[in-house]
Symmetry: C2
Subunit: 260 residues, 2 copies
């Protein structure tokens, strides 16, 4: 029986609220499983770009990471947010270790190729990106890796990388060694059957049910790429994917995506 490894992803909403972040870290510290945490960015970096007069570069509605933007997001994600999360977990007795992809070469990415859009310094991951050997040894040493959404290309270039992608790539890469649970935490209690009703959390969704819910339009818009990604992770060997409220990870209400 392999050991359970829970990989949590938290997004901007919770990072922007110090009280909620603290509460989440306290709940995380109650778990006695092996844990990894991936955090997104929050609004701080955008605010700082604005204060410094660096205009957000958009092409066809997509945000471009130019050199000045990369500098600021690296400072925010790998500096401020990552170190606050790590210090916060340490205060709860969790031996957290902050990582960008460059640290220990733990996530190596490729700069996204320029096609219709040049996204700038954005990194994409592939099957070889994750250094599972180092992660296994860090987990074995009792450490809790905390990832920010910055990777590198192995040639000295840092790259901005989607935090959801990092979380699911970690889950897939570590699935051969652990019973991996991938937890996407956000502001709602799970996937809602009725967007207007916060109490309509769907407790469990199989791939077939997911196709039906998409066809009915119950699951739409922003949730679709997230859930497509989640079901792909299940197919690739991840044990379960959980969609839940960041402040209620130790409560029973949540959506569990399962293989069948």
């Amino acid at each position: 029986m392999q050991e359970v490894l829970k990989i949590f992803k938290i997004g901007g909403g919770i990072i922007d609220d110090p009280g909620q972040l603290q509460q989440f870290l306290g709940e995380l510290a109650k778990l006695d499983n092996k844990i990894m945490l991936v955090h997104g960015g929050g609004k701080g970096a955008s605010q700082m770009l604005q204060e410094l007069g660096i205009e957000p570069k958009m092409v066809q509605g997509r945000r471009i990471t130019d050199a000045a933007t990369l500098d600021i997001v690296t400072m925010f994600y790998a500096g401020k947010t990552n170190k606050q999360v790590v210090a916060g977990l340490q205060a709860y007795g969790v031996n957290a270790l902050g990582l960008s992809g460059a640290d220990g070469n733990v996530i190596r990415a490729s700069k996204r190729p320029v096609r219709e859009i040049d996204y700038g310094f954005v990194g994409d991951l592939d099957e070889q990106s994750i250094n599972t050997e180092l992660l296994q040894s860090l987990l074995g040493a009792g450490l809790t890796p905390v990832f920010c959404a910055i990777t590198h290309d192995g040639q000295g270039q840092l790259l901005n990388t989607n935090a959801d992608t990092i979380a699911s790539s970690l889950a897939r890469a570590l699935a051969p060694f652990h019973q991996v649970e991938l937890h996407f935490c956000f502001e709602k209690d799970g996937v809602l059957a009725d967007v207007q009703d916060e109490n309509s959390v769907i407790p469990q969704i199989t791939p077939d049910e997911y196709q039906a819910l998409k066809a009915q339009g119950v699951i739409a818009a922003g949730m679709v790429p997230k859930l497509d990604n989640a079901f792909a992770a299940l197919e690739a060997g991840v044990e379960r994917v959980v969609i839940e409220n960041a402040l209620k990870i130790n409560e029973p209400v949540k959506t569990i995506l399962c293989r069948s």
Copy 2:
């Protein structure tokens, strides 16, 4: 025979010059010893504070780290500088891992007590600050720890800490396990017998010679606390302290401080 561990400290001058930083990292990559690197801040953080309209707080000529300043220096030191150095070393094939003191609880500090001056969020180190067990295991895994000048208090508070102090505390704490060499790198080739003459590098200084050079006024001002600190490290078991040019670490010209 214990293995040699070389701990390098680089300061602001080299960090502010990307070309020189690159050159230094290339020279560092040529060494086949176990290595650690501690980096200071550079002018970037001060410039950003200014651009954001955060006035430097000074009391009796000493800089105060208030909450806003701590945020910016954490972003700069732990985010931008640390990750650029780590990614740069990775490009040279060195498996660098960036660390603040909070990461893996590797350096725990105490907030400096308020006496005549309240320095704000500044951390002081003591004999128990360094987590030698984790460092030994990282070195054993073939990693090269890269430290920024940010520590934590174990209760969730990050603290700004002098990089020279971090370097010598690491050296002293690891002296029981390795033959530790502590390398302070800066813009000059070593300690100069004549400040006007760049070629007057003193190749070796014993504690007795140091007292004489201080009495003669050859070594004065900013060098005194650095060298006092260095000789204290030697007394505490560090094998040698080297004062050298960051761009010439693989050349013979340097000042070696030795126990006798």
